[in-house]
Symmetry: C2
Subunit: 340 residues, 2 copies
DNA sequence: CTGAAAGCGCTTACAG
DNA sequence: CTGAAAGCGCTTACAG
């Protein structure tokens, strides 16, 4: 049904080898005439090389898999820039990006999951951040498939954003502006046994900056999380307390939005009377909130570079890479209105 | 380097054919003994079938490509649920999802882009929403690669969310609650020559509901867009005008957030004194905003189903599919405080 | 300058 | 119940 080298060979009267060489621009000195004839024929028949046939004898597939949790997608956070980073990093070297999801049943059951069972990938980028199934690590290790982990803490073979550094920098920025009463907000859960380390790390980053400045930390949260419908009221409460914070650092957009809403309806002027910095994937356009941007694109690029290094030298374990955040809409960090 | 059928054949003393049949569970009645021996050996050697070798003689690759714009990523909006929908739809039939990006240069240059040049995909899901390069359509047509378009208006072979219906439903909901002065906000641009039809469609949906109710429409926008830093003030202005709207429908989160902030700092109680409905991919947790959720996951599922139908019957052109939005956080649509 | 042939790893009629 | 062989589409020494 589709055109093959053989078809072109028959049509032109040359051998398959000659056709192959011409179409691959092999130096094997072939006459201009022959070359032109063959190329013309290939164009006319709309010849397209069969990628599998090439892969089979190259022993390489030029595919890298991105592995996600099918069972619980929150375990495999996948912001768009992360995908683009991975793709762009792979594309530089002509590698293809294949998406794969895996269920917990597949991981616990007897059957080896398809990704590990078939030979179709040169490497695997694993995007599981917490509650990593036991068998995942062992499969990743045993399978012989070079692999790299995203956004999970390990000694080697992985990449993640610098949540700790981001928390510290945000806080330092506010300190430098003269703020003394800086709070840290997390309305989703406590910090003791979070699902993901970012929850602890961002807070610890904040704390380290406060400690270094000799100031008391003020963590505002509920052990069980603040229900969505109560968040604005919750923020109003701490904003109306005596010695309210003049600035806050928040875990994510949810806390930041609730807090600026609370501030606005309490009659506070933003950002003058309250500076808010949050972590997020994107700046929140139009809102008086500064944002520590999580560097997903760079994380993806780095993961792609790392998996390629591992494909070349599977025995080497590249050191873990941590990528810094950058502050956007920093104009919403301003000095406190009155010094204390 | 990696284990092949041949290796197992040699080790066990059986022929390659026998080994192949056993490992593929072919009915070809093979004795239990033989079967067990072969399976054991395969396990021991960690045999994994070579996917390319299979593809080559199946003539199928079981890969579907998702094509994005490399040059301008906004032309290829890719929210996470869309990817998951496509993946899940393909996975049901054992098909793999390959990501591909293409630059405008590749599309204009002489060289045929790799996706179209090599034979490695069974089908293509094209995710270009506007400023679609001339050559894209022609390549998609000529290449013989079955293809389906996402989120772009066509007669056949595509899927998109129902922006018009969403706008109409949001407005009808507010009308049914007793609102009469309902505005439509778009702070990004005018409706005359938008980049993407959703900008016109959402507005037209709103308008059609207002017209049907015999009410005047109130579109609030600036032809050139409202700069991010001015949005809250802009919203304050129309909220403090006489006969201000009691409810608003907004194109996207940006307008909705600016408007609730404006309302809060103007001392309005939400949602009682102002109902806000926006379009978005997700509910905005904790904010007094109802959301028309864009059905990306379903769009993805549908696109996957459609491309598979086209792979089976390339000559058929399945009718275009439009998928409805659903309202979340609808508790923030409430009747107006005083009847007018 | 070009052809005939082996081989990549697999599947599948064809024999026996 | 199992083997020998052809073939999928390609690349690459090996000859000449």
């Amino acid at each position: 049904m589709s055109v093959t080298l053989n078809d072109i060979a028959e049509r032109t009267g040359f051998s398959v080898r000659t056709v192959s060489c011409v179409l691959n621009n092999k130096k094997d000195r072939i006459s201009e005439q022959t070359s032109e004839k063959i190329k013309a024929c290939a164009r006319r028949l709309r010849y397209r090389p069969n990628a599998s046939a090439r892969a089979i004898q190259a022993g390489r597939f030029n595919h890298v898999g991105l592995l996600l949790s099918q069972t619980e997608s929150s375990r495999s956070y996948l912001p768009t820039p992360l995908i683009h980073g991975i793709y762009d990093g792979l594309a530089e070297n002509g590698q293809n990006l294949l998406l794969t999801k895996i269920t917990d049943e597949e991981l616990s059951g007897g059957e080896t999951p398809r990704v590990f069972r078939e030979l179709m990938l040169d490497g695997l980028i694993i995007n599981f951040h917490f509650r990593i199934p036991q068998r995942m690590e062992s499969l990743a290790g045993r399978s012989g498939l070079p692999n790299v982990w995203l956004n999970v803490k390990r000694e080697t073979d992985g990449v993640r954003p610098d949540d700790f550094g981001g928390g510290r920098e945000a806080t330092e920025r506010l300190l430098n502006l003269g703020h003394r009463r800086i709070a840290y907000l997390d309305y989703i859960s406590g910090f003791d046994s979070p699902e993901h380390f970012s929850r602890t790390d961002r807070y610890e980053g904040y704390k380290s900056a406060m400690v270094a400045a000799g100031l008391p930390e003020r963590a505002i949260y509920c052990e069980k999380g603040v229900p969505a419908e109560d968040r604005i009221e919750f923020s109003k409460a701490f904003l109306s307390a005596e010695h309210r914070p003049t600035a806050v650092v928040t875990y994510s957009e949810g806390e930041a939005l609730a807090t600026v809403m609370a501030a606005a309806s309490s009659g506070l002027k933003l950002p003058d009377e309250l500076s808010v910095v949050t972590f997020s994937n994107d700046a929140i356009k139009g809102m008086p909130i500064a944002t520590m941007i999580l560097p997903w694109y760079q994380v993806g690029l780095q993961a792609a570079a790392m998996i390629q290094a591992k494909i070349r030298q599977p025995e080497k374990n590249p050191p873990y890479v941590v990528i810094p955040c950058t502050l956007e809409q920093s104009e919403f960090c301003v000095p406190p209105t009155s010094a204390f």
